[in-house]
Amino acid sequence: QQPVQSPQAVILREGEDAVINCSSSKALYSVHWYRQKHGEAPIFLMILLKGGEQKGHDKISASFNEKKQQSSLYLTASQLSYSGTYFCGTQPASNTGKLIFGQGTTLQVKP
């Protein structure tokens, strides 16, 4: 079952923060976050494994609430390069390796 992402679209000014959420109705093994720019392949950002952890690098971080089957991606002090479509990919608790992707969140950062 496809996870639900919110919001569908975000428009920011450089330096502003954003949060993108991903919710699943099923028990998860992991949540993967990707960014895709127009005409390019999705680029892996980070993975969160069950256990309720938080990860981050640079000004992008994410959390995973295992009890709620929710993950959030935090973009801090956004840069123009952050523009793109963000997808969460969820892996079910059975850990088959398959990813089921949310519908995507389009982020536009303006100068």
Binding site: P42, F44, F87, K98, G102
Partner: protein, 112 residues
């Protein structure tokens, strides 16, 4: 990470024809996946390809339409058969390394 190449990068095909897409990885991997991304949409898993066994297809995708080969641990092909305009999409292969999936650059297919 993983270095993944796909051929062709794009193609324009006539309806009723077939196209075979190749995916090459820089080192051996157990699991390879094929996804479809329709214009403006998310990624949808077509099938999982493991070397030495038949591909496992997701609901809505059948082997006759999307035959897959996996002859070794670094290579796979996806064929889109008897194409119609509804098959116009980006087709991406991905590989699992550790807990992470990495995507190839994709094949942009337009069916006229």
């Amino acid at each position: 990470s993983a270095v993944i190449s796909q051929k062709p990068s794009r193609d324009i095909c006539q309806r009723g024809t077939s196209l075979t897409i190749q995916c090459q990885v820089d080192s051996q991997v157990t699991m390879m996946f094929w996804y479809r991304q329709q214009p403006g949409q998310s990624l949808t898993l077509i099938a999982t390809a493991n070397q030495g066994s038949e591909a496992t297809y997701e609901s809505g995708f059948v082997i006759d339409k999307f035959p897959i080969s996996r002859p070794n641990l670094t290579f796979s092909t996806l064929t889109v058969s008897n194409m119609s305009p509804e098959d116009s999409s980006i087709y991406l292969c991905s590989v699992e390394r550790g807990d992470t999936q990495y995507f190839g650059p994709g094949t942009r297919l337009t069916v006229l």
